[in-house]
């Protein structure tokens, strides 16, 4: 087991490295160079010597590899590229302030997505087995498909409207009541709405997946045998089918983490949640390249690490996977599948 953890961790390192190379390459793709961006229209007021001096100060006259290394070092605020254009503070410090809010939001949604998804999925599977009135199955399935297809930020603005009108006591924006010291109870109250909206798409996906898994398992021979030896339908469902279907569900739930991370960006913006996603949007608006590109690296690293954790948890649950390739194999995170997830 230790060997497995070690191997997976080592395979994650090159990916994070790659992400940082991409982010660096993106800086270099800026039309002109960072000096032009930093100075903007005021560049024509400076003499060429002054511009060259600034370029030298920022290390832009160095070869790209040296610049890349300087940029990595600049994460800790040494070089100009490690500082936010907005206030000149080290980007990692700015991001560090926003990290806990994002972790709280994504963590809460993961729990909600798991609970809602499994409950909804079991209800759908039960309806699909033909034990209830026949119209429930298509209705539930369409509801899940609808929630899976609807953009999260749209559901969020509708939810804000409805909550504002009918549940005025439920907070609809921010992390805390303005002017108050944040307490756990108040933050918990504030996280409720954004986290539920964020979890809906994943919960719907999970539910659809559980339904498909249960239906798939039902057509297997062991179900036939269990029924033939006289077990009741509910016993077969609970003791055989569910036990076999829920394992991949654990995997899917773990892999929800990267998707939730991606989905949180827009949700944070709609709900004025002071997390990294909102910071990224602000940085994109302000063309704050150092901050934006460091956020790219931080998000990439978080996705790689959370995929790694999901992988390891899954092989912990399913002993068959300990020796062989894991389900996701780290290559290709599901984060890219739809931004509104």
């Amino acid at each position: 087991m230790t060997g497995l953890i070690l191997r997976r961790c080592i395979s994650a390192v090159p990916l994070i490295f790659l992400v940082s190379v991409f982010a660096f390459a993106l800086i270099r793709l800026v039309p002109g160079d960072p000096v032009d961006v930093l100075l903007g229209a005021s560049e024509k007021d400076l003499s060429p010597e002054q511009v060259a001096a600034l370029r030298h100060e920022m290390g832009l006259d160095q070869p790209p590899v040296k610049q890349y290394l300087a940029w990595l070092a600049g994460f800790w605020g040494e070089g100009e590229l490690g500082r936010s254009y907005r206030d000149g503070r080290p980007v990692l410090a700015v991001i560090g302030e926003r990290l806990p809010a994002t972790v709280a939001l994504v963590g809460t949604s993961l729990v909600l997505a798991g609970t809602l998804g499994i409950a909804f999925g079991l209800a759908m599977a039960w309806a699909a087995t033909g034990r209830t009135v026949s119209y429930w199955s298509p209705i539930l399935r369409m509801a899940a498909l609808f929630l899976y297809s609807a953009p999260g930020f749209w559901l969020a603005s509708i939810a804000i409207f409805c909550v504002g009108r009918w549940l005025p006591w439920l907070p609809i924006s921010g992390l805390n009541d303005p002017g108050q010291a944040p307490t756990l109870a108040s933050v918990a109250q504030h996280v409720l709405l954004p986290a539920s909206i964020l979890s809906l798409r994943r919960a719907a996906k999970l539910a659809l997946f559980i339904r498909a898994m249960v239906l798939e398992e039902m057509s297997r021979d062991y179900v036939l045998i269990a029924l033939a030896k006289g077990l009741s339908w509910s016993a077969v469902l609970a003791r055989h089918i569910l036990r076999n279907s829920l394992l991949p569900v654990v995997a899917l739930l773990g892999l929800s983490l990267p998707a939730l991370l991606g989905g949180s960006v827009l949700i944070e913006t709609v709900f004025a949640w002071p997390g990294m996603g909102r910071l990224a949007v602000e940085a994109a608006f302000g063309r704050n390249y150092p901050l934006l590109l460091t956020l790219v690296v931080v998000y990439g690293a978080m996705v790689v690490v959370s995929t790694l954790i999901a992988d390891l948890l899954y092989s912990l649950v399913d002993p068959r996977l300990r020796e062989t390739q894991a389900i996701s194999g780290l290559s290709g995170s599901p984060a890219a599948s739809g931004m509104a997830s």
Binding site: V21, P31, Y289
Partner: protein
């Protein structure tokens, strides 16, 4: 090939939306009171069902049906163009990588893996901030700018180009992975070996044998990418980083509906969201019907559950 009812529903829904987009100039001709450009402050926030405004108006008195019809044009155009670019680039990248094998394959696919581990919205934000419309307007040659109707006071269709570029730069990765897996799967099959024995070169192999064989998967993948692109465009426009107010789109409608919502006008927000959802739902139905088709056994679910009585 028989189609499932889900696929048929999806195709019908998508065809209806596409027809709406294509017929926009006839359904809502420019100059009519329901055209998105006509602002009527004396008729703002009209509810759904108002005579002359079937789906009501927004906070500026613009007809929501008219905006949605023209929005379909922009949103679906971005979706289709971005998906076309993404599928072409991605399929070529993925299949070339799989055919090459060895170190080239490893490097090419690791690049895809690395980019895939950045959440697409974050990558989208970074790219959109980098490929800014004004900067692009400064770089492009004059004839291109003229073709895109860029003038001193308007960027014309340029935001459309930027958004398509940025969205396809984010979505080609999935297509590349899929094509890679597809080509790897068929690479060892006998007809490929036979073709190689007959002396077919790499490009001939790709164009004449591998890609045509994977076309069903590629078409379904393209449909999925259209819905991804529609979602991304709406997200960008919602943030105000997308097509901008000059080109009406569903995402742009949602963005401006934020003001309408404060005034209690919920239908201005519900309608464009429903159109986006319908597009994505249609594509999901098609995808589910064709991709998730597993060989079903004769003794299907119904038979088994019937036996337990």
């Amino acid at each position: 090939m028989s189609m499932s009812s889900a696929t048929i529903t999806g195709i019908t829904l998508l065809a209806a939306l596409a027809a709406m987009a294509l017929l926009a100039p006839w359904l809502v001709p420019p100059g009519s009171p329901i055209h998105p450009a006509s602002i009527d402050l004396s008729a703002c926030n009209c509810p759904v069902g108002t005579p002359g405004h079937i789906l009501g108006t927004d906070h500026l008195g613009r007809d929501i049906f008219g905006q949605a019809v023209w929005g379909a044009r922009a949103s679906l155009a971005v979706g289709l163009m971005a998906a076309a670019v993404a599928v072409s680039v991605g399929s070529l990248w993925g299949s070339f990588s799989a055919l090459s094998g060895g170190l080239v394959d490893m490097i090419m696919m690791r690049i895809v893996d690395g980019l895939l581990s950045i959440p697409s919205i974050v990558l989208l934000l970074a790219l959109q901030a980098l490929v800014s419309t004004p900067a692009l307007a400064g770089v492009l040659p004059a004839p291109v700018l003229e073709a895109l109707a860029v003038t001193n006071y308007s960027f014309g269709l340029l935001p459309l180009v930027t958004v398509v570029l940025v969205v396809s730069a984010t979505t080609w990765l999935e297509a590349a992975r899929l094509a890679h897996a597809q080509v790897l799967a068929v690479k060892q099959q006998e007809y490929v070996l036979a073709a190689r024995a007959l002396g077919v070169g790499a490009s001939g192999m790709l164009m004449r044998h591998l890609l045509p064989n994977a076309r069903v998967v590629i078409v379904v993948e393209a449909a999925l990418l259209v819905s991804d692109a529609v979602l991304m465009e709406s997200g960008l426009s919602f943030l105000g980083l997308g097509l901008g107010p000059g080109i009406p789109s569903w995402g742009g409608m949602l963005a401006s509906a934020q003001t309408a919502l404060i005034q209690g006008n919920w239908w201005a927000a519900v309608v464009p969201g429903l159109f986006i959802t319908a597009t994505v739902l249609a594509v999901n139905l098609i995808g589910e019907g064709s991709l998730a088709r597993t060989p079903r056994r004769k003794d299907s679910v119904k038979d088994v559950s019937a036996m337990s009585f």
